[in-house]
Amino acid sequence: MGRYTVRRLLQLIPVVLGTTFIIHFLVWQLPGDPFAGRCGDRPCAPAFVAMMTEKYQLDEPWIFQYLTFLKNLLVGDFGESFNGVPVAQILADTWPVTIRLALVGIAFEIIIGIGAGVLTGMRRGGFLDNLSLVTTLFFLAIPVFVIGFTLQYLLGVQFPIIRPTVTPEARWDELIVPGFVLASLQMAIVVRLARSTIVENLRSDYVRTATAKGLPRMRVVGVHLLRNSLIPVVTFLGTDLGNLMGGAVVTEGIFNINGVGGQLFRAIHLHDSTIIVPMVTVLVLVYLSVNLLVDLLYAVLDPRIRYD
């Protein structure tokens, strides 16, 4: 387990370096004036340009620029928006809301996604199975923002049972519908993934052995079938967190939720890329770290990996 952890950590380093380098390169190194259109509708103030040039060493060769960019990231200095609010401050204020929203979404993925996947996998070809195949196909195809608008319109305007937008406190009950929207695509994927692994493992030799041992059906399913079938699902949930964060930008934008995604949504509309770049970079780093954790969790769940 120790060796596996170290190996995973070492593999993460080039990915982090590479990904941050790609971002840095695209933002600062492409031909053209890096400040054009960067400060909202007006040109950037000369003082701002001077500050940024100083901070990101924009007069130096690119390797210095990149190292400065990395150093700033490492020490938690993510820069300021063009009207002077530190990005670290914005992130600190908005994280709790986004985490709450993500938790609601993940709860949907686990409860509905895994629940429906297991149920339909166990009864393949039944009415419920066909219903879920069609439903998930729709959720796979319809973009999150369309689902968001549809639910907002139906539940918030047409048959008002929720407020169309979420209050700044973002209470748990207000986050149920946005959380569902956020998780809609992943839920559909989880249903299909869980179903197919269940179907596959139902036919596996070790499930047959468990039955031949005379174990009660509940135990065969609960102890032997589920544990194995859920390993890929757990992995998927972790590795797909990046898409969940992208979805949070859309969902928080639609429901006007004051989280990290909502901030990004507004920053995009204000063309404030000084806060877009560091915020996205932080999200990407969070995503990569969660991926590492999921890999480690995978090794905990599957001993074949751990003892490689």
Binding site: F138, Y153, P232, G246, Y287
Partner: protein
Amino acid sequence: MTEGRSLTGGPTGPPTAAGEAPTPLGDAAGGEIRTLWSDAWYDLRHKPLFWISSLLVVVLITMAAMPTLFTDINPEHAVLANSLEPPGGSAWFGYDLQGRDVYARTIYGARTSILVGVLAMLVTTTVGLTVGIMAGYLGGWPDGVMSRIGDMFLGLPYVLGGIVILSSVAGVRSNPSEAAIMAAVILVLAVLAWPVTARVARSSVLSVRAADYVVAARALGAGPRRLILRHILPNTVAPVIVIATLNVGAFIGAEATLSFLGIGLRSPVISWGVAIADHQDYVRNALHPMLFPALFLCVTVLAFVMLGEAIREALDPKLR
């Protein structure tokens, strides 16, 4: 909108027992290819889903190629007095905020979506296939380098990567032309998506490379060109076709999402995503300028996803 990527795992990927990325068809050997294709065709012919989705795709492509077959109204023609007029009379889908015909704009929107989806798919497939085959064929350090580079791009999730690139790249920010925006969106989608295709191609190459008939061909002195063209490429085609079809759907959804966020396409490009974004503040007054583009968007993505799924099921013997 992002299933093309997510279904195949994230940046560090789920480490499978064999240590390889899972492929839909990793172990189809060359000798089985012919029966694989005819079996798949047999399977497809008996699937209503395949026919429905193919029909939709054909209609949509016709719409994209020849919008004038469907409408002779100029989508740019604006009569402010008609602003947000509901459907009726000559305007089947009503008028939008600027008093333009929603039906005509929805038809012309298909052109943009299909163009972006198909072009991005072509770039993705070309790059992914080339890198994947090279990595799988060469092995050793070139494989390591190419795979790590792919991982770096996969470290950028779709929407987040799209946001950071499209909001930063100078040429796009400052008042770009229609073609420049489209090109930027297509390239962004391709840049973020190619590693998935590359992974799939690479692992199917790896599974063929060790197959007896390839080893035999190599022993008989077949050069790399011949090996790749005659033996390796045909085997990677099946899984790549599946990914490519699903990608078209995913790209169309992603383009709409980016346009909706305000960093993808924008006026004067006629696009469903832009139409939805432009009218989101007016839902209480008029639903139709959003409803019809959204409907077309969903049906289009659905058509490509259904087609991709049908092909995937037909080509993957395990799913039969």
